[in-house]
Structures are given as structure tokens and as C-alpha cells.
Symmetry: C2
Subunit: 233 residues, 2 copies
Amino acid sequence: MPAPDATAATTAPDNAYTPTDRTVPTRARERASYDRELVHAILDEGYVCHLGFLRDGAPVVLPTLYGRVGERLYVHGSTGARPLRMANGAGAEEPGLQVCLTVTHVDGLVLARSAFHHSLNYRSVVVHGTARPVTDPAERGTALDALVDQVVPGRAADSRPANAKELAATAVLRLDLEEVSAKIRTGGPNDDAEDLGLPHWSGVVPVARGYGAPVPADDLAPDTPVPAYLTRL
Amino acid sequence: MPAPDATAATTAPDNAYTPTDRTVPTRARERASYDRELVHAILDEGYVCHLGFLRDGAPVVLPTLYGRVGERLYVHGSTGARPLRMANGAGAEEPGLQVCLTVTHVDGLVLARSAFHHSLNYRSVVVHGTARPVTDPAERGTALDALVDQVVPGRAADSRPANAKELAATAVLRLDLEEVSAKIRTGGPNDDAEDLGLPHWSGVVPVARGYGAPVPADDLAPDTPVPAYLTRL
């Protein structure tokens, strides 16, 4: 086994997802990446994904929370929610729901002199695969903690864990990170040479997610301190 | 025709989208809305949607820009991009691509004492329908302006319009707002009564989109003023 340093600088198969027919874009291929660390970093910066699946042969896209544990993503919901029922085998031959899970961060508005070259700076990850119900109690516990910690790292340990009734009402699905790609745009506008003399302002407006001061619940005891994991956000 | 005031306060059919089997959620129905103004307001606050469609029978979800003009949404892309080629009839009987277009704004992290009652405050809109190629030159122009102005209102008029070559390379799809629903969560955590004495902080962390100071392009003349539509953002 090579020392870690020997492989860190290369794109060895271990460090990248294998491209497939549907993870290679038809255009702007230079923006695509299969780098595992990069994919993880994009996923770890978010907590809301857009989950696509089929209902009666038509696409449905719903926003939902996700959590990452190594090479696994978890989503969850009420056992009565449609995609979770579908994944559990309602009307299907075997448990599992074919999905596409997408996470997107917008980093900047790219304003070119020409309308045509306007763009966004962004980082996105697209995962294709089959989401399968998680039934092992230990894995379900890990997944539910990850879903809370994905939103606020450190929060799972500072909340009451799910009880038996709540666990019975919650379905958890797992999607393995196998067929995965990232897509990234960075930098300024790419105006055509003949447009550089036009009078229009051009450049990038940075976009970022911001958090406001935590607002305590009406029923929270007034002397309850704001935890460090919130002031860190 | 009644005076505007006579209908403004009611939910007359004109003011709401008609619910359908797939726009009525299986749970948390009290969060769903079909109010036209509310749907418009949610759409107008964003510019990135997640577009779901089928490829070889499997769902694909891609982030892309959109623009709203009245009861029409527009998306665009290279004529070579897959969903745009598919909508144009490649391999299909008639032009049009079955899609689900979803827009989501996260407004707050909702931290309850129990892990189970953790949630997000959010506003989302889901549109189902068939996206069809726009070929009328005037409508294509309107759509392309709307796509730019959706990101930065006022920018379309302050940039070079697409020329013939650029127009030939750009496909525009239209999705009518007919089968539409919004979903909204607001307010604090809903902890169970027996959990109110637990020591965990509870409440809401507000989340908002923030813009940084505009960064001029490297090739921009140094004396170019930052336009008012950017300082307003």
C-alpha cells in the first residue's frame, strides 16, 4: 500500500468517481469534475437537495434535507410521504426508488457586456442511483443524526433523540455515492473581444448564504444560553 | 366585471391555480397553497430552479436559470444541451418535454428540543407540465430579456442584446403556469409538551441570501460606474 502522500496529488481511481454515460455532460465538459474530495466538500456545505423521481411516469422534483456519511447520502421523511412509500416497494417489484439527487450552491452573478455571456458562478453535485430503505436500527440512528448535523454541526448530540414512536413514523432512504459528478463555474465574465469597448459594467456580484441572529422559541426559558455551534454558523 | 376591490380579498378561481392530483401533497396539506400572487412572489424572488425531466426512463435534475413573464416560465440553454434537444423533438413524436420545475427558498433553520421536530422554514413552488420550444422571434426576445432581468432586474436593457449567431445557438423553452403549487413553512419549532423542560436551546436561525460588493471584470475600464440596479441588490 503506497504512503498517503504518494497518491494525494494524483487523480487515482480511488480519488475520483468513475464517469458514466449520464455523468458526462454534453457541453461545458471542462466544468465537470469527478473528484471525490470536491464532491464531498460541495455536499458538506449544503443541507437541502432537490430529489427527482418518477410518479406515474412523470418527473417530480422536491426539496428535502440530506445528510452525508462517507460515501452514503441519506434522506428521510414521514412513512406516509409518497417517495418514501414508493421506495419501500409500494407498487414496485423490489424496494428502491430510482432518483437523481442534486445539490447546488450559487456563488456569484456573472454580468457580461453581452446578454448572451451572462452566467452564474456555482458549484453543483448530481447523484444518480437507487434510493433504498434503511431498516438496520444502528444505521437509521446514524442517518438521523447525520441529517440533523448536516444542517447544524453538533446539534444532534444536543437534542432529544427520536423515541420508538417517532422512529416508527420515520422512513430513511440511502443513496450510495457511485454515479456522481460535480459541475463548477468560477471567475469573471467571458466577453467577446469585439464587446470589450461597450459601456456596460461587467464583473461578478458575489452571492453567499447568510445567517441572522438566532431567535429563541416563545416557550424557551429566557436564561437558556445560545450554544456555541450556533454562534459559529 | 366587478371592481378590483370586490375580488381582491377572496380566493376566486382567478386568483388561484386549480389543485390537481399531483399538486395536492400527501401530508402537511396545511402548508400547501395555490394562490397565484404567492406563487408569483416566490418565483420572482429567485432565479435558479431545479428542472426535472426523464432521460432513458430515469429522472434527471439539473439547476438552471428561469425567467417569469406573467403565467409563463422560460428556461434556456445551448441548442446542443440535452433537455433542450429533447424538447425539440429529438426522438419524440412531437416537440415538448415533460418536466417538473422547482424553486426553493430557505428562510430559517428550525431547532426543536427533539431531533424529530427539527425542520426548515422555507417557501417552494413546484410546477408540472410540458416545456415547449419557443420559436417566435418576439417571444424569444421577451424570454431572453426576462432570463437576464430575473437575476438582476434592469440589467437586460443595459447589455448588448443577442445577435443572430447567438440567437441561433440558443434554445428557449416555455412552461405555462397551470399545474402549480406552493409549499410554505413559517414560525418556530413545534415541540411536544413533554419536551419543553429539556435543557436544549430551541428556536429559529434566520437564513437569507446575501450579496457582496460587485467585483469589476479585469478588462473593465476603471472609471466605469457601478449601475444603480446593482447597488440596489
